[in-house]
């Protein structure tokens, strides 16, 4: 019996954004179909995973997450090297968590110096996150832009309150920016328009739609990503045709369920495997919604997701 495969006609395409520099450029985006819908469109650049590195030794991680990095946790340069050399990281995501005024309040110049050292130590594209504190991020990320001129870092989050100051500096020093909005397609579009008005080039914008953890609001993020992708591909919403980054590892690893030991919660099974799967399944969901870059922590979760991406990029057979 024959039947016709109901195909969707896509009128839009996601912009291709080159990350990093020189021979080590990694391009993301470029899709002309929904995630892994290879029977009706092209995905020239499969999604990529950036491994997290923290600027100071983390205090609140469960041992199951810290264990792979226990030997490097206080040294961001060694940490980043380990991610690349031992775990084959495609990108690094440096979390400048200690700059938070509610944490150690590390000064901007110190954070910039750490970022510079990390960027000198690895060749892969480097993503740099502030702490979503509007004023402090402005200070920190401006300093990072200056100190790491020409390295085409991916910096963020840029929000409503600081996109001008950080955006202008990023243009000057040729970095890529992450436009961050709180789980809302209209705000995401609006911020991209504003960045365009500021003359941030189209090949320097990544959308950060805010991502929660599995069991902690993931459904909102999942649907916002699906809606952004639909608007970009079907409704030709040009200001949403950018790759999407999902920064969820820090959300997953602070949930109660990854911290409970097996004796404390026998019905939740092995603590390490549970944490790994909580992270990997959060990734799996946002991948299927349309994320292009995943910010992840645990090497075993990363391996599972890499394998999943490979499997979903095989067309047709089986």
């Amino acid at each position: 019996m024959t039947f016709e495969i109901p195909k969707v006609s896509y009128s839009g395409k996601i912009k291709e954004i080159p990350l990093g520099r020189g021979e080590n450029i990694i391009t993301v985006g470029g899709e002309s179909c929904y995630p892994f819908h290879l029977f009706e469109g092209a995905i020239p650049h499969p999604p990529k995973i950036a491994m997290e590195v923290y600027d100071k030794e983390p205090e609140d991680w469960p041992d199951t997450a810290l264990e792979p990095f226990a030997d490097v946790a206080g040294d961001p340069v060694a940490w980043a090297r380990k991610c690349v050399d031992t775990y084959g990281a495609e990108m690094i995501a440096l979390q400048l968590a200690s700059t938070d005024p509610n944490a150690e309040d590390t000064p901007a110049d110190e954070a910039a110096a750490i970022t510079k050292k990390v960027s000198d130590a690895v060749d892969v594209p480097l993503i740099v996150f502030g702490t979503s504190n509007t004023d402090k991020d402005t200070e920190v990320l401006k300093a990072v832009c200056e100190t790491c001129e020409g390295k085409n870092l991916i910096i963020g989050p840029l929000g409503e309150g600081n996109y001008r100051a950080i955006g202008a500096t990023a243009i000057g020093y040729k970095h890529t920016v992450m436009a961050s909005t709180p789980i809302d397609i209209n705000l995401a579009k609006q911020l991209n328009i504003l960045l365009g008005n500021l003359n941030v080039p189209d090949d320097k914008i990544i959308i950060d739609p805010t991502t929660g953890a599995l069991g902690y609001g993931l459904e909102y993020c999942y649907s916002v990503i699906e809606r952004i992708r639909t608007a970009a591909l079907i409704q030709e919403d040009e200001r949403l045709q950018f790759p999407i980054i999902a920064n969820f590892a820090k959300e997953v690893w602070k949930t109660k369920e990854v911290k409970l030991s097996e004796p404390e919660a026998p019905l939740l099974g092995d603590q390490k495997k549970r944490g790994v799967l909580m992270e990997a399944m959060t990734a799996q969901c946002v991948l299927l919604a349309g994320a292009d870059i995943l910010v992840m922590r645990h090497p075993e979760a990363i391996n599972l997701v890499k394998e999943s991406i490979q499997d979903l990029m095989i067309k047709g057979e089986g």
Partner: protein, 447 residues
């Protein structure tokens, strides 16, 4: 949904009697068209009209029930491709795979895990739903295993056997449990089609390709089999994704009847690595698997899978809410801090998680804000001083603590004066705006 509100309206009695709970027939028709009302609510429809409208307004993916009683599993009934378009209706049934090739101790251990696995979250019970029993040896061994499982659990069953005789025999002994018969293929489609009709049991249909699946399904529909479950035969993650999307799209976009049924998928046959199997299962949760068959039920994989299923199948139009009450976090005593926030489930999870992480035992008062988040609730007049004050007095917290200090969300700083007037015995403390700052705040507060 096939018919518009106006088309449905033409068939209604037009009496505007209001017995259906809606003032006019037109309003009722509009509700029917959007799936927000049930046809049965109208007491004056003839059976003919009911059938006609029922057919036309039936969801493009048929709702199929497997099992009976409390453990019956409802699948399908889906009307959209993306959850944000409306909502997904029936979450997938995670199903434990058992085979007569396994030894008795393995089977018992797996069944025990299956039975004890159950979690409560936001008032919902999350647990694996069904057991699949496969016969791979002789008919008597299969029969014995089916009987054992029937005696051991009330859960809905899938009976799997390539030997149609053995399958018939087993299905007949437990047809009162309404098991899913797996599966009609090119070789046995008539035999199993007749068996399913005779026993009134749902029937799985398995093709080696989408084309073959469509052919088999069409044949069964013509025979008069109503409740089908589709297996496209795909046994890799990539091919399964493609098939699931094509099946769902065919049903919704083309009204292609042979594909208008729930599906069954087998992550357990796609890999030997249980962690990878869980990842494939997670893929099926998001993209259209209805029965997801797993080789094991282990807390570390089934719990995240159930969370994924809960997240994806939450109704996007209705905020999830938790119960209004005092939540005691840690070993609280009469000196523990008291915090208040709204009952949006996400607010509750995040705030309680941070309070827990602070290791400062605290009372978290959750006030009913109709599932709205703090600022939205405040703007809607459901989380102001006038409603918080009576809640504080009635909820019983005054008997639990000696002190009279209440921490309110940082975003509600503006109501603190008003609240102090309403609650003269209480000192109002303004907490942080972001939940993530709660641990530091609570540590300082209790220092």
């Amino acid at each position: 949904m096939g018919l518009s509100g106006i088309e449905i309206f033409k068939k209604l009695p037009k009496t505007n009697c209001g017995k259906c709970g809606v003032p006019t027939c037109l309003a009722f028709a509009m509700k029917l068209a959007t799936g927000k009302a049930e046809l049965d609510a109208c007491p004056d429809l003839s059976e003919d009209v009911k059938e006609e409208l029922g057919e036309a307004s039936a969801p493009p993916v048929r709702t199929v029930v497997i099992g009976t009683g409390e453990r019956a599993v409802k699948l399908g009934g889906e009307t959209v491709l993306f959850r944000h378009e409306k909502r997904f209706e029936n979450p997938p049934a995670f199903t434990l795979f058992l085979s007569d090739k396994m030894d008795e101790s393995e089977i018992s251990a797996k069944l025990t895990k299956f039975k004890e696995t159950s979690y409560e979250r936001v008032g919902l019970v999350l647990r694996p739903a069904m057991v699949a029993v496969k016969g791979e040896k002789d008919a008597s061994g299969f029969m014995a295993l089916v009987e054992k499982v029937c005696n051991d659990t009330d859960a809905a069953l899938v009976l799997m056997n390539e030997d149609a005789d053995a399958l018939s025999q087993a299905a007949k002994t437990c047809s009162n449990r309404k098991p899913l018969i797996y599966a009609a293929t090119m070789e046995n489609v008539e035999t199993l089609g007749n068996l399913a009709m005779e026993l009134s049991c749902p029937l799985a249909v398995k093709g080696n390709s989408l084309e073959e699946l469509a052919e088999l399904s069409e044949k069964l529909i013509k025979m008069g089999v109503k409740d089908l479950i589709l297996d496209s035969g795909a046994r890799t993650a990539g091919k399964s994704l493609e098939d699931q999307i094509i099946i769902r799209r065919s049903a919704l976009m083309k009204k292609f009847k042979p594909f208008g049924f729930p599906t069954i998928v087998f992550p357990c046959e796609m890999t030997d690595d249980p962690m990878k199997e869980a990842m494939i299962a997670c893929q099926m949760v998001a993209k259209y698997g209805s029965i997801i068959v797993l080789s094991e039920i282990e807390g570390h994989s089934i719990f995240p899978l159930l969370l994924a299923s809960m997240n994806i199948f939450t109704d996007p139009q209705r905020p999830m809410a938790v119960e209004q009450k005092i939540y005691e976090i840690g070993a609280t005593d009469e000196n523990s801090p008291v915090l208040i926030t709204g009952n949006f489930s996400l607010t509750y999870f995040i705030v309680s998680g941070e309070v827990d992480a602070s290791r400062v035992p605290s009372y978290l008062l959750i006030k009913d804000t109709e599932g709205l988040s703090v600022l939205t609730a405040w703007a809607a007049g459901k989380f102001g001083a006038d409603t918080i004050a009576p809640f504080i007095k009635k909820c019983g917290i005054e008997e639990k603590v000696k002190h009279r200090k209440l921490v309110i969300p940082g975003y509600l700083a503006t109501i603190s004066g008003e609240l102090e007037e309403e609650l003269p015995d209480w000192e109002i403390l303004i907490g942080p705006r972001e939940a993530s700052h709660l641990p530091a705040y609570l540590k300082e507060l209790s220092a």
